[in-house]
Amino acid sequence: MSKTQNSVGRAGSALQQRVDSFGRTVVEMDRTSLLFAVVQLLLILGAFASFLIQSPWAMTLLYAFLLVTGIGWARRQELTAKLLTFEMTALTLSTLGLIAFFLFLEALPALREMGLGHVLSPFGSNQWSVSQGQFSLVPMILGTLVTTAVAILIAAPFGVAGALFISEIAPDWLREITKPAVELLAGIPSIVYGFIGFTIINKYVSNLFSITPGGAMFTIGIVIGFMALPTVVSVAEDALSAVPDAMKDGSVAMGATDWQTMKSVSIPTAFSGVSAAVLLGVGRAIGETMAATVMISHSRRMLEPTVYNVFDSTETLTTLIASGYGTAPPESTYMSALFVAGVLLLVIVTGLGIVSQLIQQRMQRKLRGGQ
């Protein structure tokens, strides 16, 4: 209790200090500089605001801003540079907020009309039917769950094995080849995977299992798993390489084998980093769009005959958006429901990304503190 009070107090005093120093900076500036700074900030804020409300004045204000910045650059470069970079940072920061805000804004009509319960609760009708105005996302959530589960069964063990291989097992020359190869594989466009899946794998699988053609969920899961694999490998490998060599040397110098060192020192020490990698892989698998879009059947119903039948095909959240945007009339509940799916994806995947980043940072802090 007192600890939290302390930290709050510390944060408060830090804030106080910062405000003070800011105040001092403002006071110490000469009048012309102050004028420049204020005008510049006001102009860019105005331009941004009028862009948001779609006012035709946005461009005018932007021109004025550019003019003032140009003058400032010539006369007070030091100050202008600092302001300009600050404005750029603020704009970057605002992007995530803008994305969240506008997605939610567009999703609101559907939520208002259908109710959050109907859209998300699995105990309702679970029906997506445009003609009947039923927009339950449950089938899509199920689809995403199933494909992600299959994908992560591939990506997590193989990814961690790959990371171990690159960071600890492979000889130097092989590591120098495999590491960039993995990065390269991460860069293969998903539509290329989709094309192979669509033309080759779908047919092969439907023949093999005597099922109707059209993207069995587990096939899509496997393809997505292979696509998420490089991400898991490279992030997990980073975490494993962050374990100090001195620690591993200590183990090996006592006669432990490299494998024992990995199991007892490297993996436990890097455990949080490795799990962050898997989380990121889960995020990638959930957010993957194109490969699934071109392989899946888009039937938008629950899996049959059982909800865990991975040989059936339905729709995932991402493929719903990719396939629905074309047929959905603007301003309709249908379109808005697509945005609900987008909000879900944003919250889950971006959240996973942030959580995984926080975990990695914590691990690095701990390792630094431990040395």
Partner: protein, 306 residues
């Protein structure tokens, strides 16, 4: 001929002679070799090194090192930084294998067995030749787990879920071993009540003594120490030094240090490495410090360089 060379003490004179004396290349090669007083001791050497050469890439880090190290004694390796003494130490349990681009030639025999043979058993070697590093490097585990790490890994202590399932848990044996090793490392008094705490919470000196305890738990024959006190304050250093002296009763200790007073205080024999990776002098510590054979060593010891 050889007599005259043996008395040569200064490197520069030696090289001058080489240019004068160019009759046969074999002879001149013999002359350029560093010379030291023959050091003989009773009994078989634990470690005997012959013509050891180490390269890091193109850098020739150790040149033609030959040395024999007697049992149950403290051997200090001293020399200015960058002279290869740590490299030499890491050759004795093949930790150099873990450094990229390191290449080792020559033979190192441990109790008469060549540890650089192709089929050498590194696990067994490192069990018998333990090592303590310059910076304390405990594992991010509890103090108990740190000490018991080696024996558990080697299957000497049966702990964990499997052992409990099969009813073969050896907790008492482990308790005994942990206590014994921590006592030997003079750490028991300080940590006996918090064995389950994370070792990273200990002070630097305590961590280093924990690393020594961890090393003792494997029951090695030789303990290699790479400037174990360089990162510590004077009080912790004194504790470590006392510890090393007491260890020599049971173990063979080879210690690298750049602190000459420390070497003089704790070691039985001293080997001096000088820049360029040469072993210039090796003998009883008293003799090396009071009456060095080589002028360069004398300059180094009296502080004229290094």
């Amino acid at each position: 001929m050889t007599e005259s060379v043996t008395t040569t003490t200064d490197g520069s004179i030696e090289s001058e002679q080489t240019t004068v004396d160019e009759r046969t290349s074999a002879e001149s090669e013999e002359q350029t070799k560093p010379e030291w007083r023959e050091y003989s001791f009773a009994g078989e050497p634990v470690l005997s090194v012959e013509d050891l050469n180490v390269w890091y890439g193109d850098d020739h880090a150790l040149k033609d090192i030959s040395i024999e190290i007697p049992e149950q004694s403290v051997t200090a390796l001293i020399g200015p930084s960058g002279c290869g003494k740590s490299t030499f130490l890491r050759c004795l349990n093949r930790m150099n294998d873990r450094i990229k681009e390191a290449r080792v030639e020559g033979t190192v025999e441990f109790n008469g067995q060549d540890i650089y043979a192709d089929a050498a058993n590194l696990v067994e070697l490192r069990k018998r030749v333990g090592m303590v590093f310059q910076h304390p490097n405990p594992f991010p585990k509890s103090i108990r787990e740190n000490v018991a790490y080696g024996p558990r890994k080697h299957g000497d202590l049966n702990r964990g879920l499997v052992a409990r399932l099969l009813g073969q848990d050896e907790k008492e044996a482990e308790d005994e071993l942990v206590e014994q090793c921590l006592r030997d490392a003079a750490l028991w008094e300080e940590v006996s009540d918090r064995l389950e705490d994370n070792a990273l919470g200990l002070s630097g000196g305590q961590q280093q003594r924990l690393c020594i305890a961890r090393c003792l738990a494997v029951d090695p024959e030789v303990i290699l120490m790479d400037e174990p006190a360089s990162a510590l304050d004077p009080i912790a250093t004194a504790k470590i030094e006392d510890l090393i002296e007491s260890l020599a009763e049971e173990y063979t200790v080879v210690i690298v240090t750049h602190n000459m007073q420390q070497a003089a205080r704790i070691s039985d024999q001293t080997a001096v490495f000088l820049t360029g990776g040469e072993l210039v002098e090796y003998g009883d510590t008293d003799q090396v410090f009071e009456n060095p054979q080589s002028q360069r060593v004398e300059d180094y010891i009296t502080g004229k360089f290094g």
